[in-house]
């Protein structure tokens, strides 16, 4: 019984302690000059899909939910965002070479079509980011149209 008490107290201290670990947040109020939407000016419906379902992890501006301020949930989220950004950053899109742009565009189409993106684990909480079949088609059709032959 005494041991159990000690464990609970330790856990409590750790949980409180990790709330104070600073996290580098991915938030910028400036729309970058290389931003995908700014450069390509997609139709409104595509723009809205990108903003709702992609930009949270794949741009320099994440809108953080309240629970992201609670650790270790926030750390888990941040690691996902960092990984997403390293693969594709819409805010920096125009800085990619045209060959790299083609690679990214092709990969976007594949990932969206295969329903690998938005991440199923992300959709559990972010229901609003889920894409319907027609939205997937609209997005992939548009992205395909940007490919250089």
């Amino acid at each position: 019984m005494k041991l159990k008490g000690k464990i609970i107290v330790t856990l409590f201290i750790v949980l409180v302690g990790i709330q104070f670990i600073p996290i580098q947040r991915n938030k910028s109020d400036i729309v970058s000059k290389d931003d995908f939407i700014r450069i390509y000016n997609p139709p409104l419906s595509v723009k809205s899909i990108l903003e709702t379902s992609c930009y949270n992890c794949h741009s320099n501006n994440t809108s953080y939910p309240w629970y992201s301020y609670i650790q270790p949930v926030g750390m888990f989220l941040q690691s996902h965002i960092d990984e997403g950004l390293s693969e594709l950053n819409f805010s920096e899109f125009n800085s990619y070479s045209s060959r790299m742009k083609n690679l990214k565009l092709n990969s976007i189409v594949n990932q969206v079509k295969d329903e690998k993106m938005p991440l199923p684990s992300y959709l559990i909480i972010h229901k609003e980011a889920a894409l319907s079949k027609s939205e997937r088609e609209e997005l992939t059709l548009y992205i395909n149209s940007l490919l250089n032959p």
């Binding site: 070479s97 045209s98 060959r99 790299m100 690679l103 092709n106 990969s107 594949n110 295969d114």
Partner: protein, 202 residues
């Protein structure tokens, strides 16, 4: 004492024979022997020129990139995810040996961009499931084909094309043999495809 020596000698011989068979594992398949042989000869060339650092050495570094690409292709033909992953890692490493010294400024930029995307495809192939490996391999094939246009390759290559890949979008790959062995489908549709272009050896 003598017995111990003898036993360890036998163990070494045994070990060697295993590693040798492991290396030559695929050469028993007749379709691979052609490409394996050429791969070996490339490696020999590399060994010969490695010390001299001449222009031939550079062209060999470029051929090694193509050879590793072909190894990825062969693994995918056999539905071998781990083999593709290993070859893709070697492909990524081999990019470091390329020198851009003899290129003009525009060529250098183009080469840097090519290396960048080949690296990214290689990294993805190295860490992914086979379906995703194939998606990247199809894209990689186009970039490797552009790479060869710049560097040349000392053997004739065949650009082959299967119209059924990616839901009818089609996909291409390069092979040393005219025979169709489809890396985009593997055993599911090994024979789908046709030679689209012959790239002569330079």
């Amino acid at each position: 004492m003598k017995k111990v020596k003898l036993t360890s000698l036998m163990l070494i011989v045994f070990g060697l024979s295993i590693s040798l068979t492991a290396c030559g594992g695929s050469s028993s398949n007749d379709h691979n022997s052609e490409e394996d042989d050429s791969h070996n000869s490339m490696e020999n060339n590399h060994a010969e020129t490695a010390h001299t650092e001449t222009a031939t050495g550079e062209s060999t570094a470029a051929s090694m990139v193509v050879n590793h690409y072909l190894a990825v292709k062969n693994a995918l033909v056999e539905d071998n995810k781990d083999g593709a992953s290993k070859a893709a890692n070697e492909l990524v490493t081999s990019l470091n040996d390329l020198s851009k010294e003899d290129l003009s400024e525009t060529e250098r930029k183009e080469m840097s961009e090519l290396i960048e995307v080949i690296k990214e495809h290689g990294e993805h192939i190295a860490k992914s499931e086979i379906e995703h490996q194939r998606e990247h391999f199809a894209m990689l094939s186009n970039d490797i084909s552009d790479f060869i246009k710049m560097t040349g390759f000392d053997q004739t290559l065949y650009m082959q094309y299967c119209p059924m890949f990616d839901g009818g979008k089609g996909g291409a790959w390069l092979s040393l043999s005219e025979d169709i062995k489809n890396p985009l489908f593997g055993s599911r549709m090994l024979k789908c495809g046709a030679v689209k272009e012959t790239i002569e050896a330079i």
